[in-house]
């Protein structure tokens, strides 16, 4: 891989890539976080902690990881794993909702 290609891959992973992964993690978190005593921790934690702590921290962690890790493949693998896991959860939830809606309609 050429030096220029590596540089631009790194910039893409640190910039738009990190933002995309952080947003998908926020959407997917309510689906696996425990509900807590009030039954809202799984909603509130993403709302509070993701934009407040987790999204900036996930984004910052991915950003600094992309800047500092010499192995670009490891940067991409971690970002892809987080993205695929949470995107999969969201897609599954939406499919279930859609099929329930169609069943209800029929």
């Amino acid at each position: 891989m050429s030096q220029s290609w590596r540089k631009w891959t790194r910039i893409l992973l640190a910039g738009p890539g990190a933002v995309l992964v952080a947003l998908v993690v926020m959407a997917g978190m309510p689906l696996w976080l425990p509900g807590g005593a009030a039954g809202v921790d799984n909603l509130v934690l993403p709302l509070v902690l993701v934009p407040l702590v987790l999204v900036p921290l996930i984004w910052a962690a991915l950003f600094f990881h992309a800047c500092l890790d010499r192995r670009l493949s490891r940067v991409a693998a971690i970002a892809a794993t987080l993205f695929l896991f949470h995107a999969g959860l969201v897609a599954h939830k939406l499919l279930v909702q859609r099929s329930a809606f169609e069943e209800h309609r029929s």
Binding site: L23, V55, L68
Partner: protein, 527 residues
């Protein structure tokens, strides 16, 4: 401490510098106005000469609310928000929740502004977005807060912009931490006899490192407020509630129970307010009534944290019987980790959890952050000065924003004091800010040097700042004796603070040539 390799440190220095340069001026504007907005309530009292000390919730309001309800269409009885406006007068927003054609959830209804006697001074019809805005007597504090929250850019873009600025602050803080090889040594190092550049760098490092925890708190809580409604709610509602934002709001903020739409006479609101004040020891900041005039009416009162606590208090009442039900978490129906975290966001961001003391600390740390941002920009330029003469325009821009923003803000305060008695403060407060900004920009293009520009702006800011005090008196504001007698010593305290700060700025600007130029003469050696 953290030991990065040489090339990694170099990269982090670049990230630290560029993160500041790209959005540093916006960051400076957001932090500076945020620092002033810590005292927005006090500035509102000072500027409008408010001398009433008894809250609207401590005075009889039940009769006024019943009168308003009788003249308001029943469809707007779904929700009633009660809050204070002006000199402890009552504001009431009778509304219902609707979904706009574009899918946005809105509150539509009638917003009544009451006068001291409880009569309607003004009634505005429309959505919350349309009816809530600056009024003649709070135009200055509203302008400050609006600049800080969204830089006057329309929603949601303004909130997104300030949220992104918060993230930039986070990057600058983390990279700043990473490039310090000797953190604990550096935070105590101030070389007074070194070259001006090293002195500036030491001051930047010391102020930045000491205020680092504060920078994290501000970045986290600020981005929470910016992204909560604009990104957080829609995304989580989409993933967990199939896009139903109302269902998410009901789950997080609602009071679950079986609907009972039978008409019922509302309980006495004065009794509820008095009971809430007795239980919490604090006057409510806000009261909401759900389903006004129905058997299932609920009243929620929101209070500041109790002494020694950081979490605000929320009480729930049966509206029809004016009976206390229970203390309610701000979020959800039972205490939870998420609810507590959500509740402490506002006190952590506004610094209002321990009265004037915490506000003063937040103000001081905000000032340190402004200093760090401004000196950081100046150091970035200093390092490139000899190589990049073409950056003169950026140097002037930094000076125009750095000292022009305070100048424009004090000019807008002066305009407010003149225009408020004439009833045109909502126009002249932002207009004066724009005119003063134009003057600063013009000065930036015509000043013989950056140093002269900085000196002139500081001198003018000090002059206007000190002049605010006589201007307030001339425009009919209460004198110190009357303010203290009425229980508003904050008016005299702010007068004194503005007078001293103004005199100090004038003296400093006048003495500047004898000391040293604010721009370093030689580039700083790389670490």
């Amino acid at each position: 401490m953290i030991h990065l390799k040489k090339d990694e440190t170099k990269l982090m220095v670049a990230v630290h510098g560029w993160s500041g340069i790209v959005l540093g001026l916006l960051l400076y504007a957001v932090i500076f106005t945020g620092m002033a907005a810590v005292f927005a309530e006090e500035i509102g009292i000072w500027s409008a000469g408010h001398v009433e000390t008894r809250s609207a919730f401590e005075r009889p309001m039940d009769g006024s609310i019943r009168r308003l309800a009788a003249q308001t269409p029943a469809k707007y009885h779904e929700g009633v928000d009660l809050f204070e406006i002006g000199d402890h007068n009552l504001g009431a927003f009778f509304h219902r929740h609707e979904t706009d054609p574009d899918g946005t959830l809105v509150s539509r209804g009638i917003y009544y502004q009451l006068d001291r006697k409880g009569d309607v001074a003004k009634a505005l019809h429309g959505t919350g977005e349309e009816v809530f805005g600056p009024r003649n007597d709070d135009a200055l504090s509203s302008f400050l807060v609006d600049t800080h929250v969204r830089l006057h850019v329309p929603n949601p873009w303004g909130l997104l912009l300030t949220g992104i600025v918060g993230l930039v602050m986070l990057v600058a803080a983390i990279s700043g931490l990473l490039i310090h090889r000797h953190l604990f040594k550096d935070i105590f190092t101030l070389r007074r006899s070194a070259s001006p550049v090293l002195v500036d760098r030491d001051r930047h490092s010391v102020a930045g490192t000491w205020s680092l925890p504060f920078a994290f708190i501000l970045a986290f809580t600020g981005s929470f407020f910016s992204f909560f409604g604009t990104i957080g709610v829609p995304i989580v509602a989409m993933a967990a509630f199939g896009g139903d934002v109302q269902a998410l709001n009901d789950a997080v903020f609602g009071n679950p129970g079986r609907p009972d739409p039978r008409p019922a006479t509302m309980g006495n609101m004065d009794r509820i307010a008095a009971d809430a004040i007795r239980r919490t020891g604090e006057v409510p900041t806000f009261i909401t009534i759900e389903n006004f005039g129905r058997a299932d009416a609920k009243v929620t009162s929101f209070h500041p944290p109790k002494a020694g606590d950081i979490e605000p208090v929320t009480l729930l009442y049966d509206g029809a019987q004016a009976k206390f039900l229970h203390t309610k978490p701000s979020i959800g129906t039972q205490p939870s980790a998420g609810g507590t975290l959500a509740a402490i966001m506002a006190p952590m961001h506004f610094g209002n959890f321990a009265g004037m003391l915490s506000k003063a600390v937040w103000f001081a740390l905000g000032f340190a952050m402004c200093y760090v941002t401004f000196t950081g920009l100046r150091l970035w330029l200093a390092r490139r000065r000899e190589d990049m003469r073409s950056l003169e325009w950026l140097d002037r821009t930094v000076m125009v924003v750095g000292f022009g923003l305070p100048f424009a803000l004090v000019c807008s305060a002066a305009a407010f004091l003149i225009a408020m008695p004439l009833g045109s403060a909502t126009y002249w407060t932002p207009a004066a800010f724009l005119i003063a900004s134009g003057v600063a920009i013009l000065g930036g293009t015509t000043a013989p040097s950056v140093a002269a520009l900085g000196r002139a702006l500081q001198f003018a800011t000090g002059l206007v700042l000190a002049g605010l005090v006589p201007l307030r008196w001339i425009s009919g504001g209460p004198g110190w004796g009357r303010a203290i007698e009425a229980g508003q010593p904050i008016i005299a305290a702010l007068d004194l603070a503005f007078l001293l700060a103004g005199i100090w700025m004038v003296w400093r600007a006048a003495a500047l040539p004898a000391r040293r130029l604010p721009f370093p003469a030689r580039p700083v050696p790389a670490e």
